[in-house]
Each structure stands twice: as C-alpha cells, then as structure tokens.
C-alpha cells in the first residue's frame, strides 16, 4: 500500500492522450500556422480549459463544442481536458478553432482515426453539431498551399472560397456527424474539385447597378471622363452644383467597370474572405468592388486598423472603385490619410501586435460642391457665399491630395427643358456599350502589363512609362508647352501622360497623339477657377 502504489498513481496521473490538430489563423493577410493540442487526461479533476491566449469568442468555444458533441450523440467526457493553442504567445481570436478542438477531443477519446496525411481543420460549430460559414477560408487554402498541406476540412458553406485554389483537396463538411463518418471510413465526403471559375452568384458576374448611363440626360463630357477613368483606373474628382447629377454619374460608373481578371479576382477574394464579406456558398469574387463611404466614416474605418489589423474601405475597394460623396465634408485627418495609399497603392498598418500590409489599389471617385451653398459658378443661380467662406471650403481639400487625382471635372447643371424632352438623339449610349469600350481598353492594358502586377495605366510607375508609352514628338511638344505655361508639377506631368495613354487605348491608337494630350489637359487640376 505504500511506495509501489504511489508510483503507479503517479504514472497513471500523467498518462496522457494527446492529439495535435493543425489549423491556421491570420494576421492581416498573412496566414499563421496554429497547432491545436488537445489532451484528455485519464485521471484528474474533470474540467475544460483552453490556454494559448484565447479571447472571449474562443473561451465560449467550450460550450459550443460541448453541446455540439452532445447533439451529435457523443457523450462529452467527464474528464480533465486541456486545449493548448500553439504558438502560445500569439493572441488568438475568432470562432475557427471550434472544429479543431472538437476533432482533437474525439481523437483523444479514440472515437475517430485522424487522416494519415497532414490536414487542416477549420470552422465554427453550431449547437446542433453543424458547421457554420466561417470567414477566412480562402486564406486557410493559401496557407495549405504554402505549407504543402493537402487536405483541408472546412464548413460546406465556405468551401467554395478555397476551391478556387489549385493543388489542394477541399472537403466541405456539413456536420460533425458527417465528418466522424468520413474519418472512420464509414461514408466518405465528396471532395470539391478545383474550379477556377468559382461559383455563380451575386458576386460573380451579375451587375447590380442603380443607374444606367442612358438614364443620365446630357452630361456627355462627364460621361466621357467617367469612361476614361474607368478604362484606365484613374482617380476622378467631380465638382458641381447640387442636383447636377454627380452622385448619379458616380453610381452609374459601377455598371461600366470591366470584370476582374484572374489575378485581380484572387487579390480581392483574399481581402473579402478575411473581412468575412463573402456570402455563404460563394467562391471567387468576379465583379469589381464598388464601395461607398459616408463622410462620417472614421479614419480606421476608411484606412484600416485595429489591434488585430482589419482592412478598411480603401482595401475593400482594392481593384475597384471607392466613391466618396461630399468629399470636403470628410474630416481633414481622414482625407490626408488617403494621400499615401493613393500614391503607393497599398497601406501598411502597424500596431503593437505587428505590422500588416493591405493592398489598396483603388480608383477614387470624389464628388463635391464648389462652395458651401453649392451654386458658385452656376449661370442661373447666385452664389450666396462670401469669398472667405468659399476659400475656407475649398481649402479643406489640400493641394497634395488634389494633385493625386488625375481627372478633374466640372459637372454643370442640366437645362430643365432638356430633361423633359423625349428626344431619342439625347440618349446616346447606354452602360453596356460603354462597358464594352472600357473592356477593350483594359484588354490592351492587360496585354501591355502582363506579369507585372500592374493592371491599369493609372498604376504605371515612371519606369513603366519609359518602357511602354509611345508618344509622338508633336504630342510631347504640346505637353511641354502646357507644363511651362501652367507651371505643372512633375507628378502632374506623368499623370497627364498616363491619362493620355488611356485615351489612346480607348481610341485603339498605339501612340499618344496630340489630340489625346489635348483632351488629357482638359482634365488637369484647376487651381484658380
């Protein structure tokens, strides 16, 4: 009764049933490999503890896992269970650890056989034992691809996100019961085959647009400018009286954006997957994002941030359009924060936890009134603002910010008589024909920048301009004259060339002709209007 018994007790106490399950989390857009270690003790006071810096949502996983197992007709063991999320020094968040914890417990209880190949388990459990749509599955797929892990087990609602990646096997799991049957070889889960096209749905091709360009009466020059902007991904600034149609023009632009190419679509899907903005069942995002932000949007909401950095609106508009209506109403800090991402096409956010980089290559559409009352420069109505008020209003938009916008456009009020006439000659082109034009110009650009991860003229670096842009001597002369007469900055000079290139692409011309430069010059910054 003395020594031997004690020793036996000692051994029995530490007799472990340890299981390690692989999963992945992410920091910014970088995946992190997480090992979920589950130990069900043979002896010890019953309890369930999760360690490895879990946050509240993971603490609550205890109750989800417990109930999900019970509802899958498995008796939750009345034993001591310790779950460790390794590496232990990285704070963990999210509901994605539910499935690995549940699988770990089942494996420790020897109720399932783990697959011999390395596999990822990922997903949130529902109390009924089903799996819920979980954000970030696309990133998990990328992590699997990077680390050479073949199998990933993910919720069936989210599986399409990962299915757009080649060389991994995606198992869509509907419920815990189904997964247990699969792992025990009772009934196999059909794996999803690689589908580059993704899945059809509202995010794939169907354009859901409020306005068609044919609905906008007049404003032909504005429509032309929007076409150029959409074709070359140029930032555009619309200025005009209230009710002139600025907002309508901007919203109609969503309908003339070309579809995303393969590379762009993957970038956008990555950001949307991390933000949890991909609806259940959807895969690759095919249509270009069109994001709008109200002027009360916070700096963090627009640029991105947080303790564990999340992408902001500028990143959600990556490869698409960010529409900021009532541009001068945004707070000064918010507007100036746009300067660096507008130039670098990415934003890097540094917090204590580390630094995350989000792509932010967006086309900015900004709309504003010329003065507080809105009627400055209107031919019919008198502006009631004092010069000081006008100056105050316009000085909210700093020079450096304006300098980063390629196209500046006045949107004059439309004659009311024109609105009522049902003259068919006014309805020139609808969004569909304009979109075809834009797609044609984008195809030229895609061919030009193949393999450079530059997709549009607006994103050309100066070295690309030297390499690709062909400009006739006459055009160059005209451009130089303009620079000297108007004292244009070096950046404006290069931007004029980029806009000229887009106009040339739209005209299907191999080099920039003088009339292209002349048109580009129309849209430059007007400081002293």
């Amino acid at each position: 009764m003395s020594r031997p018994c004690n020793q036996k007790l000692f051994v029995a106490y530490f007799c472990l049933v340890l299981t390690k399950i692989l999963s992945a989390s992410h920091f910014g857009l970088e995946p992190n490999l997480i090992e979920v270690e589950v130990n069900v003790f043979k002896k010890g006071f019953p309890g369930f503890s999760i360690i490895g810096l879990p946050n509240k949502s993971i603490e609550e996983a205890k109750e989800r896992v417990k109930t999900a197992l019970l509802n899958s007709n498995i008796n939750f063991p009345n034993q001591k269970i310790v779950v460790n999320l390794a590496p232990a020094d990285i704070p963990k968040e999210g509901s994605l650890y539910d499935l690995p914890i549940a699988i770990g417990i089942l494996a420790s209880m020897e109720l399932i056989k783990l697959p011999t190949e390395k596999s990822f388990f990922y997903g949130e459990l529902s109390l009924d034992g089903g799996l819920r749509h979980t954000k970030g599955v696309f990133l998990l797929g990328l992590a699997a691809k990077q680390k050479g892990i073949k199998n990933i087990f993910v919720p069936s609602d989210s599986a399409n996100e990962a299915a757009v990646l080649s060389s991994i096997d995606v198992y869509p799991v509907f419920s815990l019961k189904e997964l247990i049957a699969h792992l025990n070889g009772v009934k196999k889960i059909e794996k999803l085959s690689y589908s580059a096209k993704g899945f059809a749905g509202p995010h794939s091709e169907d354009l859901n647009v409020e306005f068609d360009f044919s609905e906008i009466i007049g404003q032909e020059s504005a429509k032309r400018a929007m076409t150029i902007a959409a074709a070359g991904g140029h930032n555009i600034f619309l200025i005009g009286t209230p009710g002139a149609g600025k907002t309508m023009l901007a919203r109609a632009t969503a309908g003339i954006l070309p579809p995303l190419n393969e590379e762009e679509a993957l970038e956008v899907t990555k950001i949307y997957s991390v933000s949890g903005l991909i609806p259940a069942g959807e895969g690759l995002i095919r249509s270009r994002p069109f994001r709008t932000a109200h002027h009360t949007t916070s700096l963090i909401g627009l640029i991105g941030g947080g303790t564990n950095p999340h992408p902001g609106e500028i990143s959600l508009a990556h490869n698409g359009v960010l529409f900021l209506d009532e541009f001068p109403e945004f707070s000064r800090g918010t507007l100036e924060a746009l300067r660096q991402p507008l130039e670098d096409r990415k934003v890097s956010i540094t917090r204590i936890a580390g630094s995350a980089e989000f792509p932010a290559s967006f086309m900015l559409i900004a709309a504003a009134n010329p003065c507080p009352c809105g009627y400055l420069g209107d031919p019919k109505r008198e502006c009631k603002c004092t010069p000081r008020m006008v100056m105050n209003y316009q000085s909210r938009l700093s020079g450096p910010l304006m300098d980063r916008i390629d196209l500046h456009l006045n949107v004059p009020a439309v004659d009311v008589n024109k609105l009522m006439t049902n003259n068919s000659s006014l309805v020139t082109r609808n969004s569909k024909t304009i979109r075809e034009q834009v797609i044609k110009a984008r195809n030229i650009q895609n061919k030009r920048f193949k393999g450079l991860s530059v997709f549009v003229n607006a994103n050309m670096k100066n070295k690309h301009i030297k390499e690709f842009v062909e400009i006739t001597p006459e055009s160059l002369l005209l451009l130089k004259q303009a620079v000297n007469t108007y004292n244009l900055s070096a950046r404006t000079y290069f931007r004029l060339i980029k806009v000229g290139q887009t106009i040339a692409d739209l005209a299907d011309s191999t080099s920039i002709l003088p009339n292209h430069v002349a048109e580009a010059l129309q849209y430059r910054v007007r400081t002293n209007d």
């Binding site: 009764m1 003395s2 004690n6 007790l9 010890g44 006071f45 019953p46 309890g47 009345n78």
Partner: protein, 121 residues
C-alpha cells in the same frame, strides 16, 4: 425538497465517503468540522499527508455532475477553512508537513464514487 432535506442527504454522502476512504486505507481524523468560513467535510490522512476532503453528493446527474459544483471559489473556501483549522488545531498540524485538498463525488442513482486527489485551481 427543502434545505433541511439537502442537509440530510449531504450527511449521508459524507458518511458514504468516509467509509469509502476508510476502506482504502485512509485514517479519518475529523468530520464536519465547521468554522465561520465554512465546513470541512472530512479530514483524513494517508502517507503522512493531511488531506482535506470535500464531498459532493448528488442524487442524479440530470442536473449536472457533482464535479461541476466544485469550482475555483469552492476550492478557495476549502483552502481558507483548512488554513484556519491548522491554526486552531496545532496538536494535529504539528504531525504533518504536507497538506492537500481532495474531492469525493458521489452520485446516488448510478452508485458512482469518484475520488480526485490534490486539487489545484
């Protein structure tokens, strides 16, 4: 089903636990030693260790396991009470260098008796 009834049932449980421990070579030193901080269900000893045993008795597991009723706070209470006991009974305390807290969980309808040694929190 009153507090009184629970108390009687609890006493039954303590009797069962004491018998169970005795059968396994534990020496029972004291039972139901109560102070103003709380009660020590059983004080036992084995292998020169003084053991404070918390007994949890449940008629059925329909409303949760007895183990669930022992949490961090309960253990803290037992520990404080035990410390007070050691102060009040120096003639017992002087024989022991090591102390530990155990729990005995009893479920009446299934007849399950589980003994957990050296609980920490």
């Amino acid at each position: 089903m009153t507090k009184q009834f629970n108390r009687i049932k609890g006493k039954d449980g303590e009797e069962m636990a004491a018998k169970w421990l005795k059968d396994r070579g534990y020496k029972i030193i004291d039972k139901n030693n109560s102070t103003k901080f709380g009660e020590l269900d059983i004080i036992a000893s084995k292998n020169d260790i003084l053991i404070f045993v918390e007994v949890k008795f449940k008629q059925t597991e329909n409303f949760g396991t007895p183990e669930e009723m022992i949490g961090k706070n309960k253990l803290m209470q037992v520990r404080r009470t035990a410390e007070l006991y050691l102060l009040n009974n120096p003639d017992i305390a002087k024989f022991y260098d090591r102390y530990q807290i155990d729990a005995v969980c009893i479920v009446e309808d299934t007849g399950r008796i589980s003994h957990y040694e050296n609980l920490t929190f």
